[in-house]
């Protein structure tokens, strides 16, 4: 293996700025959506007093979870010493920060009072996992920044391993914290489960890697630069392991829930009678996001070409969004049971399955968050040396003989 050299994002200015303009256009759509929601109040969205968290939260949670997963590539190189992934460490750190900022932007802009961000930064209730997450998220950005510094500044290289370990531990904490936002909700039958923490960690591995694979494919294969088949196969196999882990934890989550008679109702709702939620669970989450990628990635390893791994990554992302939707929206759709054994009715929708249709503004805000992540990535890559100049076998395959 030869020493790694890095370059900036190289493409004609016209191409670069036109793509950047598209990303900024979507950011503008997101900001416009947030302004529309804030100006009119949340009644213009699909969210209400029954489904209090909606599409913005689906996007935000997806991006935040994917952010910590994106950092995993760097961890594999630094902490676990896999030389194949070492050249990708810088990109990994950058994507992690960008995705997190994108996700947090959505979360923040959906607040009823986004103008009170300063209140959220100055008033802390330490019995709230939400407050802890504020530290976990800002800390993650700081730790990832430090990690990048140790990767990109030669005198700092000696701290790289320590920073990598810190980042790895921190990202586990971050995803645990995100999972526990739901896991700590004793009130809702679909949540209130400790298994949500490891499930979210597995989800982060899968979603983060899937996004990373796609970014890599666009930047290298899409630009006609060689991308080692060895690297593609390794990432394909890794993605399969992560997807299998997600499916495993989903299985454990539902089996545990099914075993308790009190949760039979909510399980019946998610798995059988939930209409769109049930369809998203089986078709989106299990088949599109789980079984098909697994079948594609676990066959003959020689078949693991970039188109195949890339397609599987797209399916994992689509399935992942479906999964987060099922967790957040499906979990709220099932009514709270105040008096077990009784049928409840009221003017406040007690006892009925809550319906939710996302508004255009909510989807716009969510896509805006994705575009913020894309914009940060594009600008940073254009300004600093994030990209390995060469991703051919010579650089990434430890078994390569020249």
């Amino acid at each position: 293996m030869k020493p790694i050299t890095y370059t900036r994002l190289q493409m004609p200015s016209a191409t670069y700025f036109s793509r950047l303009a598209v990303a900024l256009g979507v950011v503008a759509v997101g900001l416009g959506s947030a302004w529309y929601m804030e100006h009119n109040g949340h009644w213009v969205t699909g969210m209400d007093n029954q489904t209090v968290w909606g599409m913005p939260h689906v996007f935000a949670v997806f991006l935040i979870v994917a952010a910590s997963g994106a950092l995993n590539i760097a961890s594999i190189g630094t902490v676990f010493g896999r030389t194949t992934y070492k050249p990708l460490g810088r990109m990994s750190g950058l994507l992690a920060i960008a995705l997190l900022i994108g996700g947090l932007s959505v979360l923040m802009l959906d607040l009823g009072r986004p103008d009170r961000l300063i209140v959220a930064m100055t008033h802390y209730n330490f019995s709230s996992i939400f407050a802890w997450n504020i530290f976990l998220y800002t800390g993650f950005m700081a730790v990832s920044g430090l990690y990048l510094w140790t990767m990109m500044d030669r005198p700092m290289n000696r701290f790289n391993k320590a920073a990598g370990l810190l980042a790895f531990v921190w990202r586990l904490g971050l995803t645990t914290g995100t999972g526990l936002i739901f896991g700590f909700l004793i009130a809702r039958e679909a949540f209130d489960a400790a298994v949500l923490a490891p499930l979210f960690i597995a989800m982060s591995f899968a979603f983060g890697l899937a996004i990373f694979v796609l970014v890599l494919a666009v930047l290298y294969d899409g630009a006609g630069r060689p991308m080692a088949g060895y690297l593609v196969r390794r990432m394909g196999r890794l993605l399969a392991i992560f997807v299998a882990a997600v499916q495993y934890f989903v299985l454990v989550q539902h089996l545990t829930s099914l075993y308790a008679a009190e949760h039979a109702g909510v399980e019946r709702f998610i798995l059988i009678e939930g209409g769109a939620i049930t369809a998203l669970f089986w078709i989106g989450q299990v088949i599109v996001g789980g079984l098909i990628p697994l079948i594609m990635l676990l066959g003959n390893k020689d078949n693991l070409t970039l188109p195949r791994v890339g397609t599987a990554a797209v399916l994992v992302i689509v399935g992942g969004l479906a999964q987060v939707y099922v967790i957040i929206i499906g979990g709220q759709a099932y009514p709270l049971e105040l008096f077990p054994g009784m049928t409840e009715t009221s003017t406040f929708f007690d006892g009925v399955m809550h319906t939710y249709s996302p508004s255009i503004a909510e989807i716009g805000l969510g896509l805006g968050g994705c575009a913020i992540a894309a914009t940060i990535t594009m600008i940073a890559m254009r300004m600093l040396d994030f990209l390995p100049a060469d991703l051919s076998d010579k650089t990434v395959n430890p078994h390569h003989k020249s």
Binding site: G41, G112, V119, S127, F348
Partner: protein, 247 residues
């Protein structure tokens, strides 16, 4: 060095201006402090008291919504004709036993838990519990994240989805923040009963009793001793201040 007269007069002017300026800055504060001190003439909120509410479901009828109407008037809860987003601080829930088919009707509002999950999860501490057990939202520090609504097992909280009109000075509301039953804290602090309880006795069936759960001689305590009372979702261990009889 001798001072020129202009310099001296300028200094006098600046001194006078700064005294006047300081006075203008401090005076309103002193006045407000005075007002707050005047209000502090009320009995201090104390943990020696725990306010609670007892609902006798045997007396409550499905047709009667006196408590709901009184709450809306008392707190200026004007709706916008949008049932899914309009606030409801108290609602009548109709129950039907799946086995026997027996039906009942009772009001459900913030249960003013001793271990309120809304307070635990609130990131900024805007949701808080007073020493006397009343759970409130500080509208100045609520950022509208709605995590408390996700955490409340009683669906007792509403998010203000749009601009509010007809607000009452004792019950401020704000678009983008969360709100719920306050146990009519503005009344309780001056020794009155919550509006729903008053209406229940005046226009309803007298199914509601409000009082101090820690005072063994209060009506509510005596009724609880005599006939017991259940907590909604008592299994969660939140120890709500609202109890029900006949459920």
């Amino acid at each position: 060095m001798t001072e020129c007269p202009t310099s001296s007069s300028r200094r006098q002017f600046l001194n006078a201006a700064s005294v006047l300026g300081a006075g203008m800055v401090i005076a309103p504060g002193v006045t407000l402090h005075g007002i707050s001190e005047a209000k502090a003439g009320l009995p201090r909120v104390s943990s020696k008291v725990r306010w609670g509410l007892l609902v006798d479901a045997n007396k409550c009828t499905a047709e009667c919504t006196a408590c709901v109407s009184a709450c809306k008037i008392e707190h200026g809860l004007e709706g916008h004709g949008r049932v899914k987003t309009d606030a409801q601080w108290i609602r009548k829930v109709e129950l039907r036993d799946r086995g026997s088919g027996r039906t009942q009707s009772l009001p459900v509002m913030c249960q003013h838990c001793d271990e309120p999950p809304c307070v635990d999860v609130c990131p900024t501490g805007a949701s808080f519990k007073r020493a006397d057990g009343i759970v409130l939202v500080d509208k100045h520090t609520c950022i509208g994240c709605r995590y408390c609504m996700m955490a409340c097992p009683y669906k007792a909280r509403s998010f203000v989805h749009e601009v509010t009109t007809g607000q009452k000075s004792h019950s401020p509301r704000g678009k983008g923040t969360v709100e719920s039953c306050t146990f009519c804290v503005h009344r309780v602090d001056v020794g009155r009963q919550p509006a729903c309880v008053e209406a229940c006795h005046k226009d309803g069936k007298g199914a509601m009793t409000f009082g101090d759960l820690k005072d063994p001689n209060s009506d509510i305590s005596k009724k609880l001793v005599a006939h017991g009372g259940v907590r909604i979702r008592g299994d969660l261990g939140l120890d709500p201040g609202v109890r029900y009889q006949g459920v």
